[in-house]
């Protein structure tokens, strides 16, 4: 199995059906690169937003909100 196909199988969550399996390995790579880039971008944006969000909570509410968020 090519590395590109193994990557796409991982993204698909199992063995590839015939149409995706028949794609050119270079196209499978392009597809995987786009998926990985999206996942990475979302993780980064979520982390940044979470960091910023806490700063905005009014002082009075910061304690209960932090407790709810982080236990």
């Amino acid at each position: 199995m090519s590395a590109a196909r193994a990557r796409l199988e991982a993204a698909f969550g199992g063995p590839l059906p015939s149409g995706l399996a028949a794609l050119d390995p270079a196209d499978q790579e392009r597809l995987c690169d786009a998926i990985d880039a999206t996942l990475a971008r979302q993780r980064r944006e979520l982390a940044e937003s979470t960091e910023k969000g806490l700063d905005f909570i009014p002082r009075l509410l910061r304690g209960p909100v932090k407790k709810a968020l982080f236990g």
Partner: protein, 320 residues
């Protein structure tokens, strides 16, 4: 239903999910739509499941804070992505109360980041007065995939409001990528009376016949017959353009049922147009049509005294 159009719609949705535009994934045109849908849903799950634990806590924290303040925090600080994820963990009533206090622009940004499957309970309770401005904004931003994902989950009155807020072009493009096309029939039934001819003219003007035919392909026979009558009344130039577009995209399986749904009077109306078609287009149409439909068109030509013209056109098309 055209497999080719189904795949084309899925490619558009996958490109949108991955933040790509245009023909980036044209190489996927050979992949069956159900495979692309499975991949898209798997990637969507991976994206939306990340950070679930912390987001659940964020949703719980929102309960402690008054809705106006939550809305301000979302707009000023959390941003649309985090707000969208947190919404999925919020109680629906709280999420709707917060949404009512957000600007249409921010609500639109947040809607783009939502996974409608995970906020179905919120969507089903969204009031019409919230849907209409967001639909208008999404349409203006050409966020057809987002709209198509959401219309599958909102109540009928919200669909009606969204459709009314959309331009004819946005309506066609949204319907093409609608997530559950079994809802299209009801949605089209909710359009204001007399709107469909304008939608069809838009398809002609904007080169959206594949989208229009896909829509017609997904509605009931009764509504298809009504739209077929509208098409027959569009005039020779528009109908010739429709046939040329179908030929170029090779989607005759979507046009034949439309012609088949026309009344005898409408067939008589379009018979002169068919007689004057490009011979290649006429041959393709007649080859794709069942024998009884060809016979009905021939009878319609005869009815208006054009039988000989029809025979001559068929001969020019290389058919007997």
């Amino acid at each position: 239903m055209s497999a080719q159009l189904e795949t084309a719609a899925e490619v558009i949705k996958l490109e949108r999910l991955l933040g790509l535009e245009g023909d980036d994934f044209g190489f996927l045109s050979t992949v069956p739509a159900e495979e692309l849908r499975a991949l898209r849903e798997r990637v969507t799950d991976t994206i939306f499941d990340s950070g679930g634990h912390a987001l659940a806590r964020l949703g719980a924290a929102a309960k402690l804070v008054p809705s106006p303040l939550v809305a301000t925090i979302c707009e000023s600080s959390l941003g649309p992505l985090l707000s969208a994820r947190a919404a999925a963990t919020c109680e629906p009533a709280k999420a709707i109360d917060v949404a009512k206090r957000m600007s249409a622009e921010f609500l639109c940004d947040t809607t783009i980041e939502l996974d409608p499957r995970k906020v179905a309970a919120i969507m089903s309770g969204v009031p019409v007065e919230l849907v209409e401005p967001v639909a208008r904004e999404l349409g203006a931003r050409e966020e057809y995939v987002t709209m198509g994902r959401f219309l599958a989950f909102v109540p009928d009155e919200a669909i009606s409001a969204a459709m009314a807020a959309l331009s004819d072009e946005a309506l066609l493009r949204t319907a093409f990528v609608l997530e559950h096309k079994e809802r299209l029939d009801d949605a089209i039934g909710l359009l204001e009376p007399g709107r469909m001819p304008g939608v069809l003219r838009c398809a002609a003007d904007e080169g959206l016949w594949p989208e229009a035919l896909d829509l017609i392909d997904n509605i009931s026979d009764e509504r298809r017959a009504s739209i077929a009558e509208d098409i027959a009344g569009l005039g020779a130039e528009v109908i010739s353009g429709l046939v040329a577009a179908v030929s170029a995209a090779d989607i005759w399986e979507t046009l034949v049922p439309v012609v088949g749904a026309m009344s005898d009077d409408s067939l008589a109306t379009i018979a002169p147009v068919l007689t004057g078609l490009d011979p290649v287009h006429l041959r393709e149409l007649l080859e794709a049509a069942p024998a009884d439909l060809v016979a009905a068109v021939e009878r319609a030509a005869e009815q208006i005294g054009m039988h000989d013209d029809f025979d001559a056109a068929v001969a020019r098309a290389g058919l007997e």
